[in-house]
Subunit: 361 residues, 4 copies
């Protein structure tokens, strides 16, 4: 990927829109709004510890656009006190969600031994239909409701004690249209699963990053999210985007996903300005987003001198911050490539995104 | 109250015990351990938003010794989903309390219009017995179970829109042995009620300070507490102490209560050392507790010179901090009184505790 | 002092100007800009520990408008290494002051035993003229240069070991036009001197609050200041204002000075809005400044109900904060007075400013 | 490098000594105390902005053992005010250094164009001897005083605008015994210079990390240091250690130096405990130091399962923190190697230290 910026062209690109009124400011992509979502959340209706309306308060406080409440169908430790349909946790939160402008998605967690482990089905119409002894029956019921279905925390040690295995059962689910995505990040398990990351890329599955919160979500803590690139801020548009794999995962300061989305986020978040200096150019960057970017010099065009004395730590472009660096050009050179890696934008498991800035003087 | 300290006596008093293994360090009193308690707490079994076990986690995290879960008897907004005895919130938390070493007390909030307003009954044996149409019947049932009964947030604006009134109904409850204490502080209402403070002193009622928490209690936030001076760390000893009015209220950095308890806390928290100087003495204080003390000079013995240039702000003895000051003695004076007020130790509504340090050179 | 605000009048007063581009935002007064000044500062040219230009960096960082460098005439511990005119510390800082837009005032500290102690002379033209054996000669030289002269830290224990005494010598200086002000606050000595406060009020002297910094001034620390109400941001206007006693002292969150100035600061910092409610009015205040206001209820109009449950702590209007309270009006009352004390605005030694808000419904 | 720890051996290694009474706790090495030093510091006697005694206050506050004041010989912007021997900045700080227990080393910065750039000579006896027009004469004078001489900030852009070059002149200095070390880190220039790191390894030069502070050193800021492994806490022992290359550089959370020292620091800082589990072992580590360790899994023994889901971020062992991880062993395996890289312990430019923990079950 290359971006050409030049002293003789207009170098200040028009600022893209930022849809989010609240919470972290993350740029939109062309044709899409970026929605901050958490599709894995529990309440007292399964083994969570809070009433469903708290989840709306937390989502609102944290600036989310949409959440799915996904109580376990099969595991309900408080069922002797709470005797209710599987749809109740969704219903109990709905009025609060509407009042606070949070999109609430009806979901459930199908909770089985490995394989196939735990799977979330969201965009359901009636969760009670999923309460079946055989997991294939439960998933067929979800499919019959046109659910979006994903595999939760595939690297969870309790279910995959040694390595993270893709079982034949998962291949069958994929073939039968009953597996659309995988959690690459699960916050409660503190789990980034490189294998899940690779499977999503290879098998064309949607990448998800969710909290799986059971307790309350502590104020001020960074929250794992699925960023969804949707045509509009509606449940239907989120569904369409998920089915079309238009997501990236946001976890700590990492963005994980398809290179095309990472590149566009990077470009839309940053404004570049290049000024001629005596020996080359000075490049100034303004970060209009709340994302962080950690840059490391990549194999370089030997005629350009930049990022010289900084290899001990990456160059950090802080949220809403500014950053500048000098590119010296040797002996009459008029243009060249500044190559670097954005360490925290993972385009492959543990591999940052390469980026080239084409400079002319 | 006077404390005599002298250069010619041993001035470093033996350090009293501090029972608390966790949380704020607050000194014990002679013959009693100081227990940190919260007697007003809600869960999803009435209009709280969390499952009862979270209350144990929070109490443990905050270093409390004992809590009472006191769900409303009459107000249960989730009762269509949660069909349960009024005893269930206590029962659901009991195993967790035992596991974490928290003393859990069975309680309930009798929730009526004013008068008499809301009253908590704790140390109950069966909460269901309190579910009666007439509040006097409910209170008689509590009394029959030997409950400790107190009036909650008497100055709550919703129920006392103008001034804070003691109704005839409260006098009747008091006479009939159905009112033992009052909340001087209620944290959810952000309420310190001077009238409640005065009534406790005049009518010999127990002072309480509780959170009345409904949502989760945010980690790191200071927590209103009732400090109970109990013969041992047992439920029975707490009951006996409450009935004997051996409590003070801890709220922000204030201690509110009977002067005798405030004085003993003050003395047990602080170690004094007096050294002779050319013109008088130097007094050094070490605070062995996590309490804060704010001292202001009181009408002074004119022959002693101390706290001269400091009247703009009180002298603060910080938690675990040290503090020292000089007392100059004029013209051959050999002893005298250092008089001050501990501003944040309230012995009357809005009135700090006076203290005299008798100094001899 | 009374301020009438009413539902039927326009209650949002037009926002006064705030001159300061940097540092704490403090309102201007009618006809005057409010300048943040420190008139007592040392460098390596006497017993300070830093080069004069650092004082400019610090002043700029802390948002000051003007400083005076006031090295001791008589005490120069590094004079074997630094052989220089007494004017050099001013001269060495001048270019930096001009570059950073700080008004730099030439000063000196006349440093003698008590009486008369230490006195600063500022707005000098040649400090070397003050280097005389007799302090009266030094002061006459300062007067001959039309200096503004003030007594430093009059309550300093080293010079006034018992009480803070006004000596005959000070009366003579005052009579002879060689004493114009007193430091009410000296930060290095951690000294607020109530006697100095009273003398300024009684003897019509200018109040000053300065740092007397010798070491570097730690970034982020609150800085004692003299706030000067000047006709313009020029040295001449500061001189005129000092001679006319148009100053207040800013120290921690206290403002100390003449009531008329404190009142105008209070009114210019705050925007009030009053809305009718069912039982009275709701008063909302927005603090447009970086000042803090701590309000306590004063003896009240018994027909109005306000600040009911809050006596344990003052009502704090935080910097740039908002604050609101309800005034209930009994039995058909249509107007009344809300009386309170602004605890941290000292109009007399240790005495807050009273303020009345006249409310009509 | 290998460390064998086993369930059947004693696994809790006796805690090594930590010499430092103040400041960061860093372990000693066998036979040596670890001294925290800064060998590049300026004062008003060259172009610094503070009096020499402040450097002692700062060193004491920051827990340093030794500092060298190294004012420029050739660059003295305040020399019209400060007329003094080049030895005066050392002499002016000496009494304060003795009072606070800081080892003060007499030094100077020989300040020339590139080549050879700026060089520090420390352990001088008379700085004035270095004031010569020809830099070779200045260095010969330093050598005649048995100085330890090092090249400052070799990658400084002002002197090396493109790449960081080792000039013939440096080779000559090295041959003639007038170059003993290089600054790998210079804090004022925010400079870690990978070339300097490599040259020290290749040419057997001593690695240094210094602040080059001119302004005051802000309290609370992390300070670049040279850690010196000395036979005792004396100037002579520091000199001997520097000449023997027994140093590492401490900068941010990085330790840079010879692998043998990094390994011993790592081992002396950490206490390991291994417990058998059902499927392998649980390894617990306690960090007794204030160093941070960031571990990444290295190419692994395929029979051991560890650090599985954590590749997005390194495993951090925080200062005084604890850390634990599980090693699962497949199919009857009884022992194996846990291989990882300590990312922030640089044994080569930008290359972390590899470490193997030999585990037996």
């Amino acid at each position: 990927m290359k971006k050409i910026i030049s002293l003789f062209l207009a170098v200040c690109i028009a600022l893209p829109s930022f849809s989010q009124a609240k919470g972290k400011s993350i740029p939109d992509l062309k044709g899409y709004v970026t929605l901050k979502c958490d599709f894995h959340i529990h309440t007292v209706f399964s083994d969570g510890l809070v009433w469903p309306t708290i989840r709306i308060d937390e989502a609102h406080r944290d600036g989310l656009d949409a959440i799915a409440i996904t109580d376990h169908v099969e595991y309900r430790p408080y069922k002797s006190d709470i005797v209710a349909s599987h749809n109740r946790s969704y219903e109990a939160a709905l009025a609060a969600a509407e009042a606070k402008g949070i999109i609430l998605i009806r979901g459930a967690e199908i909770t089985r031994g490995m394989p196939p482990g735990h799977l979330n089905a969201i965009f359901l119409t009636d969760v009670d239909e999923l309460d079946k002894p055989d997991y294939m029956d439960a998933l067929r019921a979800a499919k019959a409701q046109n659910a979006f279905i994903f595999w939760n925390h595939p690297g969870w040690e309790a279910q995959q004690p040694d390595t993270t295995v893709w079982f034949d059962e998962h291949a069958i689910l994929l073939e039968q249209g009953m597996l659309h995505g995988i959690e690459v990040v699960n916050e409660v398990c503190k789990l980034y699963t490189p294998e899940a990351h690779r499977w999503c890329l290879e098998k064309k599955l949607t990448m998800l990053g969710n909290t799986d919160v059971h307790h309350f979500f502590v104020p001020g803590k960074k929250r794992a999210m699925t960023l969804v690139f949707a045509r509009s801020r509606t449940p239907e548009a989120i569904y369409e985007a998920l089915m079309d794999r238009r997501t990236v995962v946001y976890y700590e300061d990492f963005i994980i996903g398809e290179e095309k989305y990472l590149k566009e986020l990077f470009e839309n978040a940053l404004e570049w300005k290049v000024d001629k200096t005596e020996n080359g150019v000075r490049v100034r960057v303004r970060n209009n987003s709340d994302l962080t970017f950690r840059l490391k010099k990549d194999s370089s065009d030997a005629r350009l001198i930049y990022f010289r004395n900084t290899s001990i730590m990456p160059q950090v472009i802080a949220p809403k911050g500014e950053f500048s660096f000098t590119v010296n050009m040797r002996g009459g050179i008029k243009s060249g490539d500044v190559n670097f890696i954005v360490e925290n934008f993972l385009v492959q498991p543990n591999e940052g995104m390469k980026y080239t800035l084409k400079i002319s003087n």
